[in-house]
């Protein structure tokens, strides 16, 4: 437990094998949500921008290759 307060079995909740009180658990969940959500948004936006750039490049490349064949 992060706060090191003594708690009975009913008041503690196990998460990833570690017992937490309600307050510590809420803080842990909140922190992990914010972190994972920010990372998710960042990767999604950067991934989309990369794909948009690649699509424009691929459009030119495929077009030039096709027109070279005919």
């Amino acid at each position: 437990m992060a706060c090191a307060k003594p708690l009975c079995q009913e008041c503690a909740t196990q998460w990833d094998g570690i017992w937490h009180c309600a307050k510590c658990l809420a803080a842990k969940r909140g922190a992990s949500d914010v972190r994972s959500n920010f990372a998710g948004w960042l990767t999604l936006v950067i991934g989309s921008l990369i794909l948009l750039y690649l699509s424009a490049q691929m459009m030119v490349w495929a077009g030039a290759l096709l027109s070279g064949l005919f």
Partner: protein, 269 residues
Amino acid sequence: MIHAPLTTTSVLDESTDVISMVAAPWAAVVIATSIPYRFLQALFVDRLIEVGGEASHYGRLLGTTANFAIAAFVLSLWGRAVFARACRLAAARGSAPGREAWRVPAVAFTSYLFTGTLAELIFYATIFTGVGTLVAAIVGGLAIGTMELNERASISATIRLIARYGRELRVLSALTIVFACAMFISLINVAATFGLGMWLSDVFLGADLSRWKILFSGNNRRFVLATIAGAWIALEPFWIAANVMLVRKAGAAETGEDLKVWFEELRQS
């Protein structure tokens, strides 16, 4: 509005019901936002044909057109997202949605921006192969169908969603083939509309159409490209509605919602 088990015909039937509810004004949104992209694609192909085998020497010209086309593609994705949301709301309520169709959740649109662009990239990368184009069409369809199921911003989650609904490969492939056939019919209709307009102007207005007849003929490359773009624009709302309904029906079968609706309908009758 989940009436029948998941088959190609049931998806098409129910998407027609949804389209009749949302066509005005939401189909106009998807058409208006698709026009710049499709016509820029047509312009790109036109320039490509013009430069021919020398295309590799015109990188800047083609690159600029491609960049504009991709910028217009983002706008078309937004139009598709609004229309898909309108279809989903109409299917859930059984009536035309109001202004809430504009409010596409940011996470849903960003996820769709990623998956929709991925489908476009697959299309351009595999344009030489028939199978690649089919895969791109299926991924693109599932991208718009699953758009609103994205609740968290995550690349892996959005890919997993597409993979989950991609299990309905039989229905998805059948839908893609149906729409490939519909494309030809739409092409004939768009070309015939121009012909009809010319004929009406000639008969009723007595206009001198000798110049227009040359412009609106199959010999004019730009007219042919614009007709292909127009045919796809006309078909786009149906394609989106079919994919939204497919995902909705597949999800309902998975969760047992279809059985609940069926039981409710039985109780009411």
